[in-house]
Subunit: 308 residues, 2 copies
């Protein structure tokens, strides 16, 4: 198999990361971060979620932030929605790509969106029916590998679910999510190898969490199976402020560093990204992760101090 020599990094910090920060990040600060990310070469941003403002007050400025993204050249504003009601609103706000989320395990789906998987599929069908031509759709398969309530997810759960999704439309990007971060590279490789053999010509994304330190290794395992699109979060922002040690997505800097060092093009300028990552680290209550940021800051400090 030909390994991808170019990868697409989908920056999910403004959604998956910001929603995990306990306080509300001022819209102007979010705007600065979004502009910085885009300026570093990340043209696809999961920029916010259109959800209940009561449930996720951190993202209550979704409309403004989507507008900010849409003003940026070549920016694909990707917005997560839990159901058809909010999908309609996100389209109204100008979202260019919708992300609809459902889980491969029933207990997680219910706890996450308060619906059975069957009802989530009905919602998805309605989202598809209202779908305008200027916004594309992605479906996140949460707990595709492991569920916090049910343990390892059988791959048949995933294939059955995907079959149902693809009968509605073949034009859907699918993201395989290691929601718990408990998955290991061997299992990532097995699942993607299986999915690619079953579903021909399908667009895939891998969404890794670095909770158990396998984020980079898991992305690499997916890349070895030919996957070329990865979610990641600037400064590894994420986790839950009430759960010390919980972790966000694999850090964008770590993936950029890894792939570029392997001569795989990410289109991202590390110096610019590093500036944004350092800004994100200063957000009060932000839980960050990743290693590359520290290593590069250290190099810069050494250069500044004349240490070689």
């Amino acid at each position: 198999m030909k390994l991808p020599l170019k990868v697409n990094l989908v920056e999910v910090g403004p959604r998956d990361g910001f929603q995990a920060v306990s306080g509300f990040i001022p819209t102007t600060e979010k705007e600065k971060i979004v502009r910085g990310l885009h300026n570093s070469g990340l043209s696809r941003l999961e920029i916010t979620s259109v959800v209940s403002k009561r449930a996720v007050p951190q993202l209550s400025d979704a409309r403004s932030i989507i507008q900010v993204g849409n003003q940026l050249d070549t920016c694909l504003t990707q917005v997560l929605v839990p159901n058809v009601k909010y999908a309609e609103r996100a389209i109204d706000f100008g979202a260019k790509k919708l992300v609809f989320v459902l889980s491969a395990s029933p207990s997680h789906n219910y706890r996450n969106v308060r619906l059975s998987i069957k009802d989530s599929l009905t919602e998805l069908r309605e989202v598809l029916s209202l779908h305008p031509s200027n916004a594309s759709l992605r479906v996140n398969i949460a707990t595709a590998l492991d569920c916090p309530f049910e343990g390892m997810t059988p791959s048949s759960n995933v294939t059955n679910l995907i079959e149902k999704i693809l009968t509605m439309s073949s034009d859907i990007e699918l993201a395989i999510c290691d929601t718990t971060g408990r998955c290991t590279p061997d299992k990532v490789a097995q699942l993607f190898s299986h999915l690619i053999s079953v579903f021909d010509d399908q667009d895939w994304v891998f969404h890794a969490h670095d909770t158990f330190g396998t984020g980079v290794a898991n992305c690499l395992a997916a890349w070895h199976e030919g996957i070329d699109t990865f979610d990641c979060s600037v400064a590894g922002l994420g986790g839950c402020p009430f759960a010390p040690g919980s972790s966000g997505n694999v850090a964008t800097e770590d993936l950029v560093w890894l792939f570029e060092a392997m001569s795989v093009d990410t289109g991202v300028q590390m110096e610019r990204l590093l500036e944004v990552a350092n800004q994100v680290e200063r957000i009060p209550t932000a839980l960050t992760g990743g290693r590359v940021r520290h290593a590069l800051n250290n190099q810069q400090n050494q250069t500044r101090l004349g240490v070689s």
Copy 2:
């Protein structure tokens, strides 16, 4: 190739980690950590270094610590030495395994041990000549992949050096060290694949640093080439207190978690290891790394609080 279903983890925290802590850790505390590590199932400990007390005052209690290790059942006390003078002393102190270090790049060798590679090889020959039957020898090839002064190390440097070493004795374990942590999994795989094809029946170790977040992925790449022995440091202890962001070896907990989750036996009991890792994290000025410790502490806190 048959992948190893059992791996040997060499705990280097008491040497590579403790020497990076700026203050002196009281011998009694070191002893407690060493006992804890051994009790968790880590029977091979790079327990200290016998070196100039002026250069590395942190390890000036080498004799006592080696004695502590030797009192523990099945503990292989491994001790790093820079030259024949200290090798003699380490044997006198009771070291069961000596680690002699030299670099694949001339500039690093000179800065590290103040010798040319040729002179280091002469030292090694002398170490071998005084070598008693009850202590075995390992050679660490520092900068085997990348050098802070010379960049990527040509693999011919490494093979030439190894040829010279193995003409002295074929009974030497060789550790390939990613000293800078800048190496990526593809290069780790390439080098090991090459070395294994050139040097038949040789015992290898991989010594990874997690500075750029590739520690786990690099170990996995080596494992895929058949490597079954890995250096690691409890709590990822290491780095340099004067260089924020510098990083230690890949965290022992991260490797234990990874391998056990892949049904590869490490012989380590995670709960016991976690206790020691938490103790190590509390050492003043300790720079720690790794993710698994945080994730497992968090799980324990949640269980304690009744959160599911």
